[in-house]
């Protein structure tokens, strides 16, 4: 593995829980290299260790073995090194949208006035204009996710982890949010690691897909998505897209059968 080449390198990460004498392998040793500026997706059934992997990268859980390298340096067990957006939007109900978006910067020590000044243009630009002084309770599901993602992006970390951010949205909103995310990805140039169990979403958004399987949680295959960018919605009906989607689905089924056989 070429250390300096990859933005994020997961070196032989594994996670074993020991509950009452029985070992549970949440994540079998996994090695993963993500180059800078790439959009990488992890797909897999629930219990395949996606969330464990994210928690380890974010420094919220200590791996049993392995290291997390960012720009070649060991950051295993350090918090605040990556932007992490959890499944729920987790907006604070007592803060306005503006102050919620500014939260990450505020924690990083930016004075609140400056943090607000930097958050405001983004709020206006990315579809929350007019809502900056509203409280989250008056926002729709899609808008809440937008606010949560802007909060994550404003922390100014090169790597952003997104854990099924659109999982709870209806199909139409989800499609809009995907377009929106692609726009943001193009504008910000961050390295994104995206967890989903929606195969179409993964193919549509990513440069590379890692397919995972359960029992033990592991990465079974990595495949590059060689569709040109910028991508248009119409791409989903091209033969290449359909073939790729089918390939991923087959892999997921195979993983499931493997787990059943074991």
């Amino acid at each position: 593995m070429s250390g300096p080449m990859s933005k994020l390198l997961l070196d032989d990460l594994s996670m074993v829980f020991n509950t009452g004498g029985t070992e549970f392998v949440a994540l079998a040793p996994a090695t993963l290299s993500v180059p800078a500026g790439r959009f990488v997706s992890l797909i897999g059934p629930s219990g395949c260790g996606k969330s464990t992997l994210f928690n380890i990268i974010a420094g919220l859980e200590a791996p049993t073995t392995g290291r997390v390298l960012i720009d070649g340096e060991d950051y295993t067990g350090y918090i605040g090194q990556v932007g992490y957006m959890l499944q729920k939007d987790l907006l604070l109900p007592w803060r306005t949208v503006l102050d919620n978006v500014a939260l990450g910067m505020e924690i990083a020590g930016t004075p609140i006035k400056e943090a607000r000044a930097r958050a405001l243009p983004l709020i206006k630009r990315y579809g929350l204009s007019g809502f900056e002084n509203q409280y989250p309770s008056s926002l729709s599901g899609g808008m809440r996710q937008r606010a949560a993602l802007l909060r994550t992006l404003l922390v100014e970390r090169d790597i952003v982890l997104l854990d099924e951010p659109f999982g709870a949205l209806d199909a139409q909103t989800k499609a809009q949010m995907q377009e929106w995310l692609l726009q943001i990805f193009a504008d910000f140039g961050r390295t994104v690691i995206f967890v989903t169990h929606d195969v179409e979403e993964a193919v549509y958004l990513s440069d590379e897909i890692h397919v995972m399987a359960t029992r033990p949680g592991r990465i079974i295959e990595t495949l590059p998505v060689d569709l040109p960018r910028p991508r248009d919605r119409s791409i989903v009906s091209t033969p290449r897209f359909v073939a790729m989607k089918k390939y991923c689905l087959d892999l997921l089924h195979l993983g499931e059968q493997g787990a059943l056989a074991a």
Partner: protein, 288 residues
């Protein structure tokens, strides 16, 4: 498909019930019950009528001898005494005295309790060690300690404040601790993922999350603090509405007892309004 089915001739429809069954089966038909709220003036006038009726009944019953006016007093006598109480007695000294000890006790008990309860967030071990003591403190009937508190803190204001504080402190502590335990784990995770320190998590997440819990005890604490002050005055005091009630009871001035109770109620309502106002400020943005 549907349009075809509906265009079938009536004779071919199998769903059509036989004509004789129509007379046998009475269709179940009930409307959604209507709940209409009367206009405010109507509600208020009914409330007024009930109050006036109660007062009138009391007056008539007392003057016609159905109830003993010596023990129960009567509205006219109470109104008369009320006038004397404010015109001649040192009413304002007594009111201010009770009001002051209640407010001090309320503020001290609520804030100390909230701080103590939230402090349990800092260490699980500390919380676990303190738990039995807190439960013990809760189970002690604190009013039973009133004579002791008077001995320690003296006859003055301090002892009343101490009793009011003791009553409100434990409830506030337990409620604030419940608030701490209810803090969303994922929310905490988000803060740490942003690189937050423990102090930042406490000030920006834990403390604001506890605000609704603290709000919920404010109203209860008003009543508790008032009870504490009055019991303190019952045991030993030179001023206050509690002392007035005790004195009036011992000298069979029942009308004066009622006057003091009325003034206490008015005081309590006043503090409720104050607390509601405080709530609105604290609740800003927190939708519950």
């Amino acid at each position: 498909m549907n349009s075809k089915t509906s265009s079938l001739p009536a004779s071919m429809s199998v769903a059509e019930p036989a004509p004789q069954s129509k007379t046998k089966l009475k269709r179940f038909a009930r409307r959604l019950p209507k709940r209409k709220i009367w206009p405010t003036w109507a509600l208020a006038s009914v409330q007024g009528v009930i109050l006036a009726g109660f007062v009138a009944l009391w007056e008539v019953a007392a003057s016609s001898g159905w109830i003993d006016a010596f023990f129960w007093s009567q509205p006219s006598a109470i109104a008369h005494t009320l006038g004397i109480f404010f015109a001649e007695g040192n009413a304002y000294v007594d009111i201010a005295y009770t009001f002051r000890s209640t407010i001090f006790g309320f503020i001290l008990g609520t804030s100390l309790g909230a701080v103590l309860g939230m402090s349990f967030w800092w260490s699980r071990n500390y919380a676990l060690i303190m738990q039995p003591y807190i439960i013990c403190l809760e189970s002690i009937p604190k009013l039973a300690l009133a004579p002791l508190i008077i001995l320690v803190f003296g006859m003055g204001l301090a002892s009343k404040v101490a009793i009011a504080t003791a009553l409100t402190l434990v409830v506030s502590t337990l409620t604030a601790y419940s608030g701490v335990q209810a803090v969303d784990r994922d929310q905490e995770k988000l803060f740490y993922s942003l690189g937050a320190s423990r102090w930042q998590v406490f000030t920006k997440l834990v403390a604001p999350s506890c605000v609704p819990w603290v709000i919920s005890i404010l109203r209860v604490n008003i009543g508790l603090a008032l009870t504490g002050s009055i019991v303190g005055e019952f045991v030993a005091s030179q001023h206050g509405l509690g002392r007035t009630i005790l004195y009036a009871g011992q000298t069979y001035e029942i009308a004066l007892v009622w006057v003091a109770v009325l003034v206490l109620s008015a005081l309590s309502i006043l503090m409720y309004i104050g607390v509601s106002w405080l709530e609105r400020i604290l609740r800003k943005g927190v939708v519950r």
